[in-house]
């Protein structure tokens, strides 16, 4: 039986999650966006199983505590609509700190994401951190401890993430140390910036929790902006 398409448009919404919204976890964000759609009376497509639910696809889950300028969620509209107006309507239904950038018809799949750019701000760095970080980032090996599963057992595995760092740039600003870096991202390999942060602050007197992480952009294999 040929599949009949029951919806009118496949669209992607890009949005920013900044400020206090960084403390909203991924699962809570999913629920929040679903409710905002409902409040804005957006005619989205629901799954048709026993428990119908709003069909939403988020590209990559964002870690709790990170801000982001480049989140996306894909959904299906039951009717043709003016997407700029829709963006405005959804924005009005969202809490502050989560802002819709654009809604558009997309051609890429979240699976195309290969890299992500982060701005990492060490608010209270040890004096030696700039030097140490520079050395570590320039060496051939950057060993981090990654939690992994071996069967049912949870083990810590040492991994070299050097090849997963596409680029990096260190700078200082008012006593803060800023690291702009592009790391592997996507469904197959994903490097959480916290791993790199942990490796960099190791053996220095820097609180790894006093660090701000902002996701700037996602890229495809060829370093084209994911859209």
């Amino acid at each position: 039986m040929p599949e009949v398409k029951k919806w009118a448009m496949d669209v992607r919404m890009s949005f920013e999650k900044t400020g206090m919204a960084k403390f909203i976890s991924h699962l809570d964000t999913v629920r929040l966006i679903t409710r905002s759609m409902k409040r804005a009376c957006v005619p989205i497509w629901f799954t048709e199983g026993f428990n119908p639910h709003a069909f939403l696809t988020f590209a990559m889950p964002l870690s709790l505590g990170f801000e982001s300028y480049c989140e996306t969620v894909d959904f299906r509209l039951m009717e043709e609509m003016d997407l700029d107006e829709l963006a405005k309507k959804i924005n009005d239904a969202l809490p502050v700190d989560i802002t819709v950038k654009e809604i558009y018809v997309y051609e890429t799949s979240p699976n195309d994401i290969r890299w992500a750019e982060y701005k990492i701000i060490f608010n209270n760095p040890d004096k030696v951190l700039l030097e140490t970080a520079k050395n570590k980032l320039s060496s051939d090996e950057i060993i981090v401890e990654k939690k992994a599963k071996q069967g049912r057992k949870k083990v810590a595995k040492e991994v070299n993430i050097k090849d997963h760092i596409k680029s990096f740039e260190l700078s200082e600003d008012n006593g803060k140390l800023i690291l702009d870096t592009v790391l592997s991202s996507g469904t197959s390999i994903n490097i959480n910036p916290m791993l790199l942060i942990g490796a960099l602050v190791k053996n220095t007197n820097t609180d790894e929790q006093d660090v701000d992480v902002i996701k700037i952009e996602s890229y495809t294999q060829n370093m084209e902006v994911f859209k």
Binding site: I24, S36, R39, L94, D97
Partner: protein, 614 residues
């Protein structure tokens, strides 16, 4: 707005969104343009507090006024508290981020006795002196409401004003009065004198309590402007009572995260163990049109995909058969689920059953409360075994396969035979399932027995009864476990020490303030949470104050004894409660209010009117 120094802490705690504020529909005002700032405090964590309907109503009542701003404060979890204390961050309100000591009015909702130490802890964390006597300026004034206020005596050392009954109207009275006295530059005493004149306002420092040598109360004397008895406040017309236009939508998953439609207040059943029934009378219903409209508006404003109806014994709502189709008419189209809690077994009509089949079904819950007919008669739970089994059969026909049965243990007149009756009844429910020819093929049944320990409460016919001691409850629990023979039946129960404490505070007197204060100093908090509850600290506190828990829990009180909560007038006549107590001991039932009025007296609060008699 969370301040910068707090934001740093949030990176180190679990569920940081508990502490950020900024949720949709939270109310932000300019603090310089209001005359009064009110901190509504819920003495438990964010997830519990944000689930509470009363808080939503009162938040909305105060924020509807232009001259006042109501904000929310919850008890921080242990990890956050530790960081706050280490970094000298005071407990703050989620809307402004301002600390508790910057507020004019601080209100606590006392929903359960085991949250009392959290009240002290929150005041302390917020920079407010914990003891009433150490607060000498006009503001902050600390007030408290909620069901526990029907016996506020154990908390009088910490709270300036108690508001028994429903808060919608009296909150505004207090806010008006405090604004006036702030403008006049009054003293604290001047304000309290005027407050005590308002109906439904209890100012405990205007009462002296004397004790006999045996620890019972000798006399209670009121002075200043205080009335001899404080009559609780009610809202007369629920259709026109304030109800929120929206709910705050939490970021994190909270216990009750849905649209709530309140359908009525009070209860007609008169189960003798149930305090909620007697302290919320008289019965007042809301019309289905109003409920439907309120649910619609809140669902639109929140984006919630679930509606639940709220009241005691919801299926007793006389217009439920009109309301349900009204709600379903729009809710199902919008993929909104409608769930009905606390259904009673004895009025589950076929039509209601059919409607319920349309929505996602959760487990089915019955509350027979006691295992034998004799004991059910004694507690006036007018449900027969035959009714339970008939309804279970109907539910199994409807496709349900999981049943939860609620019971209580330690009820007055209870024997081991009654405990065995619990297991027997559960077994009969299992047998009913397997005898049902219409049961779905290949499916088994699961019957979960949940047993709570009975705690006698003020303003119930059992207010004079002794509470079972811990050892006896443990024995009964063991007996129940050994009486269950089927693997289809599971049993869960609570530890008995928390019930002892609950029982002490439920019927306690003013002398307990010292115990609560000492226990808090020893580190007691979140006593309702197993991971925090530490009975040994409480036991020490009692010893140091020369008080015993037995005095409050294990003693049979005489009808003539002056009870600490008799300063309060909840409309229920003492003679009625005595009659009911005597009938319990003879296993004589009392018909529910709609069949025959038993003259409990609560209608005097509503100008002689009660919806059960209309």
């Amino acid at each position: 707005m969370v301040k910068k120094e707090v934001e740093k802490l949030l990176k180190k705690v679990q569920k940081p969104a508990r502490y950020t504020g900024g949720e949709l529909n939270s109310v932000i005002k300019d603090k310089n343009s209001v005359k009064l700032r009110y901190a509504f405090c819920f003495p438990d964590n964010y997830e519990i507090g944000m689930s509470h309907l009363g808080m939503k109503i009162l938040y909305s009542v105060v924020n509807e006024r232009e001259d006042a701003w109501c904000e929310r404060v919850f008890a921080p979890w242990d990890d956050m508290e530790t960081l706050m204390r280490e970094n000298n961050v005071k407990l703050y309100a989620l809307e402004s981020g301002d600390s508790l000591d910057e507020f004019d009015l601080i209100g606590f909702s006392l929903q359960y006795e085991l949250s009392y130490t959290n009240v002290l802890n929150m005041l302390d964390l917020g920079g407010v002196p914990v003891l009433k006597k150490d607060r000498t300026s006009l503001t902050p004034i600390v007030i408290a409401g909620g069901p526990c206020v029907c016996n506020p005596e154990p908390m009088v050392d910490f709270i300036d004003i108690f508001l028994p009954g429903e808060g919608e109207e009296v909150t505004n009275d207090i806010v008006d009065l405090l604004i006036k006295h702030k403008e006049m530059g009054s003293t604290r005493l001047e304000f309290l004198r005027e407050a005590a004149k308002i109906q439904g306002v209890y100012v405990p420092e205007f009462y002296n309590v004397d004790y006999n040598e045996d620890g019972t109360i000798k006399s209670v004397e009121n002075f200043e402007t205080a009335p001899e008895k404080v009559q609780k406040r009610i809202v007369s017309d629920l259709d026109n009572a304030h109800y929120p236009k929206d709910f705050i939508v939490p970021f994190i998953d909270v216990v009750q995260d849905r649209t709530v439609g309140e359908v009525f207040r009070g209860c007609t059943r008169g189960c003798r163990f149930c305090q909620a029934c007697f302290i919320t009378r008289p019965i007042r219903e809301k019309s289905p049109e109003v409920i439907n409209e309120q649910c619609r508006r809140i669902s639109d404003a929140t984006g919630y995909d679930e509606i639940s109806l709220c009241s005691l014994s919801t299926s007793d709502y006389t217009k439920i058969e009109q309301l349900i189709p009204m709600l379903f008419d729009w809710a199902l189209k919008e993929n909104i689920n409608v769930s009905l809690p606390s259904l009673r077994v004895d009025n589950f009509s076929d039509e209601l059953m059919e409607e319920l089949k349309k929505v996602r079904r959760s487990g089915l819950t019955f509350a027979p409360e006691a295992g034998t007919q004799r004991l059910r008669d004694a507690i006036n739970k007018n449900v027969t075994e035959e009714e339970v089994l008939r309804t279970a059969l109907k539910a199994f026909d409807g496709g349900w396969t999981s049943v939860k049965l609620y019971f209580m243990m330690g009820l007055p007149t209870e024997t081991m035979e009654d405990i065995e009756g619990i297991a027997d009844l559960a077994q009969k429910v299992v047998d009913t399932f397997y005898r049902n020819p219409n049961k779905e093929k290949g499916k088994g049944v699961q019957v979960n027995i949940s047993v709570a320990s009975f705690v006698p409460k003020p303003f119930t016919p059992f207010q004079w009864e002794p509470q079972d001691k811990g050892e006896l409850l443990v024995e009964k629990q063991k007996h129940l476990l050994s009486s269950v023979k089927s693997r289809k039946i599971s049993v869960s129960y609570h530890q008995s020490e928390t019930s002892v404490l609950e029982g002490v505070f439920a019927r306690g007197d003013r002398r307990l303030g010292e115990v609560i204060y000492k226990a808090w100093q020893k580190g007691c908090k979140f006593d309702a949470w197993d991971e925090f509850f530490d009975y040994s600290k409480w036991a020490e506190a009692f010893r140091e104050c020369n008080l015993t828990t037995d005095f409050y829990t294990s003693r049979r009180r005489e009808y003539t004894e002056i009870l600490p909560w008799e300063i309060m007038d909840y409309g229920i006549r003492k003679e009625f409660l005595i009659d009911e107590n005597k009938k319990a001991h003879e296993s004589i039932t009392t018909p529910q209010c709609r069949i025959k009025c038993s003259a409990c007296g609560a209608n005097k609060l509503n100008g002689g009117h009660c919806d059960a008699r209309s």
